[in-house]
Amino acid sequence: MTTHAPLAMLLPAIPFAAALVTLLLPQRSRAVAATLGIAGAAGALALTLVLLLTFDQPYGGYVELVRFGELAVSFGVRVDTAALLVAVATGVVALAVQVYSVSYLHDDQRYAPYAAQVSLFTAAMLLVLVAGDLIVLLVGWEVMGICSYLLIAHDRRLPAAPGAAVKAFLVTRVGDVGFWLGIILLGVGAGSFRIADVLAAVTAGEISGTVLTVAALGLLAGVAGKSAQFPLHTWLPDAMAGPTPISALIHAATMVAAGIYVVFRLYPVFSGATGVLAVLGVMAAVTMLLGALAATAAEDIKRVLAWSTVSQLAYMAGALAIGATAAALFHLLTHAAFKALLFLGAGIVIHAVGTNLMSGMGGLRRALPATFWSMTIGLAALVGLPPLAGFWSKDAILYAASGTAGWVAALVFAAGLATVVVTAWYATRLWLRTFFGAPRPSSQEGSPLQAMAVSGDPSSKPVHGAPPLMLWPVVALAVPSALLGFAAFAEAFVPWLQTPDPVEWAGEYVAGAQAPVPVLAEQELLHIGVFMVVPVAAVALGIVLAWAMWRRDTAADPARLLGPVRPVFAHAFYLDQVQHAVVVRPVTAFARAVRRTDEVVVDGAVEGTGRGTLGIGALLARAHRGAVPRAVAAVLGGALLFGIVAVTLGGAW
């Protein structure tokens, strides 16, 4: 049994090295930066595949970094199939994004730092995936956050970008406060930060009761922040201000999925803590519906996809809440594929049309045929049309929800089913408004469609065909979106998705030690049976509804028929404004108050003592302004005073 711990440690190192080298390059060298970026992503992907193929059982390896008292922090890895599968997904999407960005940002002269930051992000994501130590996991976790901050604010032209970047980082950072506390409670409780020790301690019951619950809730807060779950979801739609490939990589496939992955990896902590999974379940249900409904009324194509991501992540969270960890991970993988595809496709569409708003699109199926077909596959997978990947993974979740006892499962199932309908609705709306109907002139003049509309000839090719470097990744991603579902049929694949039983290999692996085969909790992923009809019917319902509303007036937006509810959905239930009013404004007001008190009271006291001393000095000086008799009086008076006091009190003390 060969363990590849050192190799696994190398995994985050490759893109990190690429990032460092690209950062040191002068800004002008685009070609070198691009190649380095692609090489980094490809290298990581290749190494992951090697590790996956030569994998036989989970292993870990640790190098002690630093010791604080008896708590040590060690740079360690803990590799299992789940980690490697998500790593493969990350690698694929990262490679696709690097290739795609080369042409998408062809006119951006700050490409080198952009490529470096993407590589750095990939390294951080891989670090989170393979980290064997909670603190190292936290390092990867926060470096991802800062990379998303830097990349959102990358585009100089968008005035909203800096604000969105700060909002993204701060909302996740608020969640991370809980994450910090969770990790610290677990580490202090277990006496070590290694995940293996922590899980062993949890299962052995050393950490239990309120400590475990609070730690789990803390981790949950961090996950909610990072995976944009209610109530910390407000940053994801605004993060769309970043370049589209970034939205694809970070805000669709990898970073937002990291939260779900951490819950998967530390599952014993959550299952051990009473009531935490219930909280997760409720949160998931709420977020599912919230995301889907908000997507229905969004006008910007990227915001639709962002809200869709929020609701799909809620699916995965729901699955975790009811114990279907394999289904959750399976949906994570399929979602990574088709959501990345959709975003990159949207990028091509925006590139072609020149605007994000769907009002400026229409009838693009002939102008961008390849994009049209791949996005159709993507949308179909998103909706869950059999036999595409989305159907199998979402169906697994719904089936698991229906099969598990308890009100949480019922809630998840109900919300899931409703969301399937709404998802189908907005997906079809997007599909029809972008690719069908008459091409609508976008508000910004000079867009290629403008030319097409003016010339009245729909068939004339718009100036911007999809450049090959952007098209190939989209098409490539279409393959897993379509076929990944069938992987569920391969019996080797299912155990890969299982969470290895924590107790079995709690001990770290010294290279070469014989590790027992993990006993798998039998979760079967696949079932063919009558139950499959229910979700398919829901999808059909959603599609027909959307199609009917659209057919009435192909130029107008089907969302207009939502009536009074539309603005509520468009502003996502005004949660953004609520968050601003409840959190942001009070904190800034309190800060101003604290500053004033600090300057007036504390500083005032200090300056006051200064002025007071000078005042007393002035007083005494005035007392000395008299003439000589006053001095003589002072001498005699002083002698008299001292005499009287000496006589009366005597040597009393």
């Binding site: 001393t613 000078l614 002035a618 000589v628 001095a631 002698a639 001292f642 005499g643 000496a646 040597g651």
Partner: protein
């Protein structure tokens, strides 16, 4: 029968008196300034050497009572030797500083009065009974009235002299009343006999009388040290007097007060420390606090130095305040406290001499201290003198570049905490902070940008600012010497006095008529600063001397 008199013990006093007479005769005979000053200087030096030589010898006692041979009026032991040497050296130093001022003062009278005052000081050092002590104190003070009023046609000088005279006379009468009542209640005058009488306890009905008399004596002596509330004369006298006389007032005259208090308290009133302990503590606290607070508001340099010397008197008396606490009255605590007082006194007089020396060197000629504002940027024109003045000021504040001052304050705090008077140590600490406020104001002023030479007619005696170096920045000229000189001065020994002679050659001379610093003033200043730096780096020398000198 004729009392045998030990003339060797009396040698320093003889030499001092002889100096005074010789100064008068030389002035009468030759009437040349340099010769008179030279004679007085050699006389002072001879007194110092004689006092040192007598001090190293065995303890010599003379003028003893026939009946009680141990009760002697004139004792030449180590304490007396140290004090006598200090008086002589201070007189020598002040004489050095006076060469500038002597251009407009009657040299003969000046030197005679100075030597007479020195004789009083030397006699005070050796005195061991109340009569000799008070008479010596008067001999020390009387010439000062005249010295302060010596500036002809200067109203401030005359007013200063009258202030000093009136308050001093009243204080002396209070002291004399105290001494008389003490003699009435105990029947003895010699300090060691007094101590014996007080241990035995005074008859009950005379207890209050004795207490009052002791307090009155302390009040009178506190006047000499310019302790609050007996201090009001100091600012007017210092400001009116010529700068060297102000130097003498703040060093020698104050040292005389301290010596008198020490002898009376430690030798005479040893058994009654509990009675007078709180008096000393109250005096010290009042003096420190009032001295520092009023000094904050002063606008003239010499007045500021006067108030600062009032505050410093508070620091000197502070260790004696430890007697107010029972744990402070043990022998071990007493030695600690007295050593600290003497050490602080020595550090203080050296730094004070350097401070007044710098003022004399900067103002030159016979000008008075002048406004503080006039010193703005003075350290740029005369970097070395500026550096010495800054070092002296920082020494008085008790901060590291002025290591001597810092060790002095550390010794006081050590003595207070050794004797268990923590609260007094805190008060001294707080006063050190207040003290830094005005010392730093003047020191920073020295190095700040000098005022544009506006055509103000004020005859600023300071040599006109050197042609401003090319302004390399929009700000007015940068500090030429730079505070680094002060900081650097602390690091390596100052170049020999010779180098500190005239203002360094490269410093282009101001307009004609402004006098370069006379060599004697520069020598005295350089000597004082050098001594300050040496004892700053090796304070143990002073502390050993002080331990030896505990009476």
């Amino acid at each position: 029968m004729i009392q045998t008199i030990d003339h060797v013990a009396l040698l320093p006093a003889y030499l001092a008196a002889a100096t005074a007479v010789l100064a008068l005769v030389t002035d009468l005979a030759l009437a040349r300034r340099q010769v008179t000053v030279a004679v007085t200087a050699t006389g002072a030096a001879a007194t110092a050497v004689a006092a040192w030589v007598v001090g190293t010898g065995p303890v010599r006692e003379t003028f003893c009572l026939p009946a009680a041979p141990d009760a002697c009026s004139y004792v030449a032991d180590q304490t007396s030797a140290l004090m006598a040497v200090l008086f002589a050296l201070l007189t020598l130093g002040v004489l050095g500083l006076s060469t500038g001022a002597l251009r407009s003062l009657p040299t003969g009278e000046y030197c005679f009065l100075l030597a007479a005052s020195m004789t009083g000081g030397v006699a005070l050092a050796y005195s061991r009974d109340l009569i000799t002590l008070i008479v010596a104190l008067e001999t020390l003070t009387l010439p000062l009235y005249a010295l302060v009023g010596l500036k002809r046609r200067s109203l401030a000088s005359a007013q200063g002299a009258v202030t000093l005279f009136v308050v001093s006379v009243v204080a002396t009468s209070v002291t004399l009343l105290g001494a008389a009542l003490l003699y009435a209640s105990t029947g003895v005058v010699h300090l060691n006999q007094l101590a014996a009488a007080l241990t035995g306890g005074v008859p009950a009905e005379l207890q209050t009388l004795a207490t009052v008399s002791v307090v009155l004596i302390l009040a009178g002596l506190a006047f000499k040290v310019a302790a609050v509330p007996f201090h009001a004369w100091a600012p007017a006298a210092y400001d009116g007097a010529p700068v060297p006389v102000a130097a003498y007032l703040s060093t020698a005259s104050k040292l005389g007060g301290v010596v008198a208090v020490l002898y009376v308290v430690v030798l005479g009133l040893r058994p009654w420390l509990d009675v007078i302990g709180w008096v000393l503590a109250a005096l010290a606290i009042a003096t420190m606090t009032v001295g520092n607070l009023v000094a904050l508001r002063q606008r003239r340099v010499v007045r500021l130095l006067a108030w600062s010397s009032v505050a410093q008197a508070g620091y000197i008396l502070a260790p004696l305040g430890v007697f107010a606490v029972a744990s402070g009255r043990t022998d071990e605590a007493l030695t600690l406290a007295v050593t600290a007082t003497i050490a602080y006194a020595i550090f203080y007089v050296v730094i004070e001499l350097a401070a007044f020396g710098s003022v004399a060197a900067m103002r030159g000629g016979d000008a008075d201290g002048g406004e503080i504002e006039a010193y703005r940027g003075a350290a740029r024109r005369a970097p070395l003198v500026g550096a010495a003045f800054t070092l002296a000021l920082i020494g008085l504040a008790g901060l590291p570049p002025g290591l001597a001052g810092m060790f002095a304050k550390v010794a006081v705090i050590r003595a207070l905490l050794g004797g268990g008077a923590g609260w007094l140590a805190l008060i001294v600490a707080i006063n050190a902070v207040i003290g830094l406020v005005y010392y730093l104001r003047v020191a920073a002023l020295l190095y700040s940008t000098p005022p544009e030479p506006e055509p103000a007619p004020a005859a600023v005696p300071v040599p006109a600012p050197a042609p401003a170096p090319a302004p390399e920045s929009t700000r007015v000229t940068a500090p030429v010497g730079g505070p680094a000189a002060a900081a650097a001065a602390e690091q390596e020994p100052r170049p020999g006095p010779a180098a500190g002679l005239a203002v360094p050659a490269e410093e282009p001379e101001g307009p004609p008529g402004s006098s370069a610093v006379p060599w004697a003033v520069a020598a005295a200043l350089a000597g004082a600063t050098l001594v300050a730096i040496v004892i700053g780096f090796a304070p143990q020398l002073v502390l050993d001397l002080a331990t030896l000198a505990v009476p």
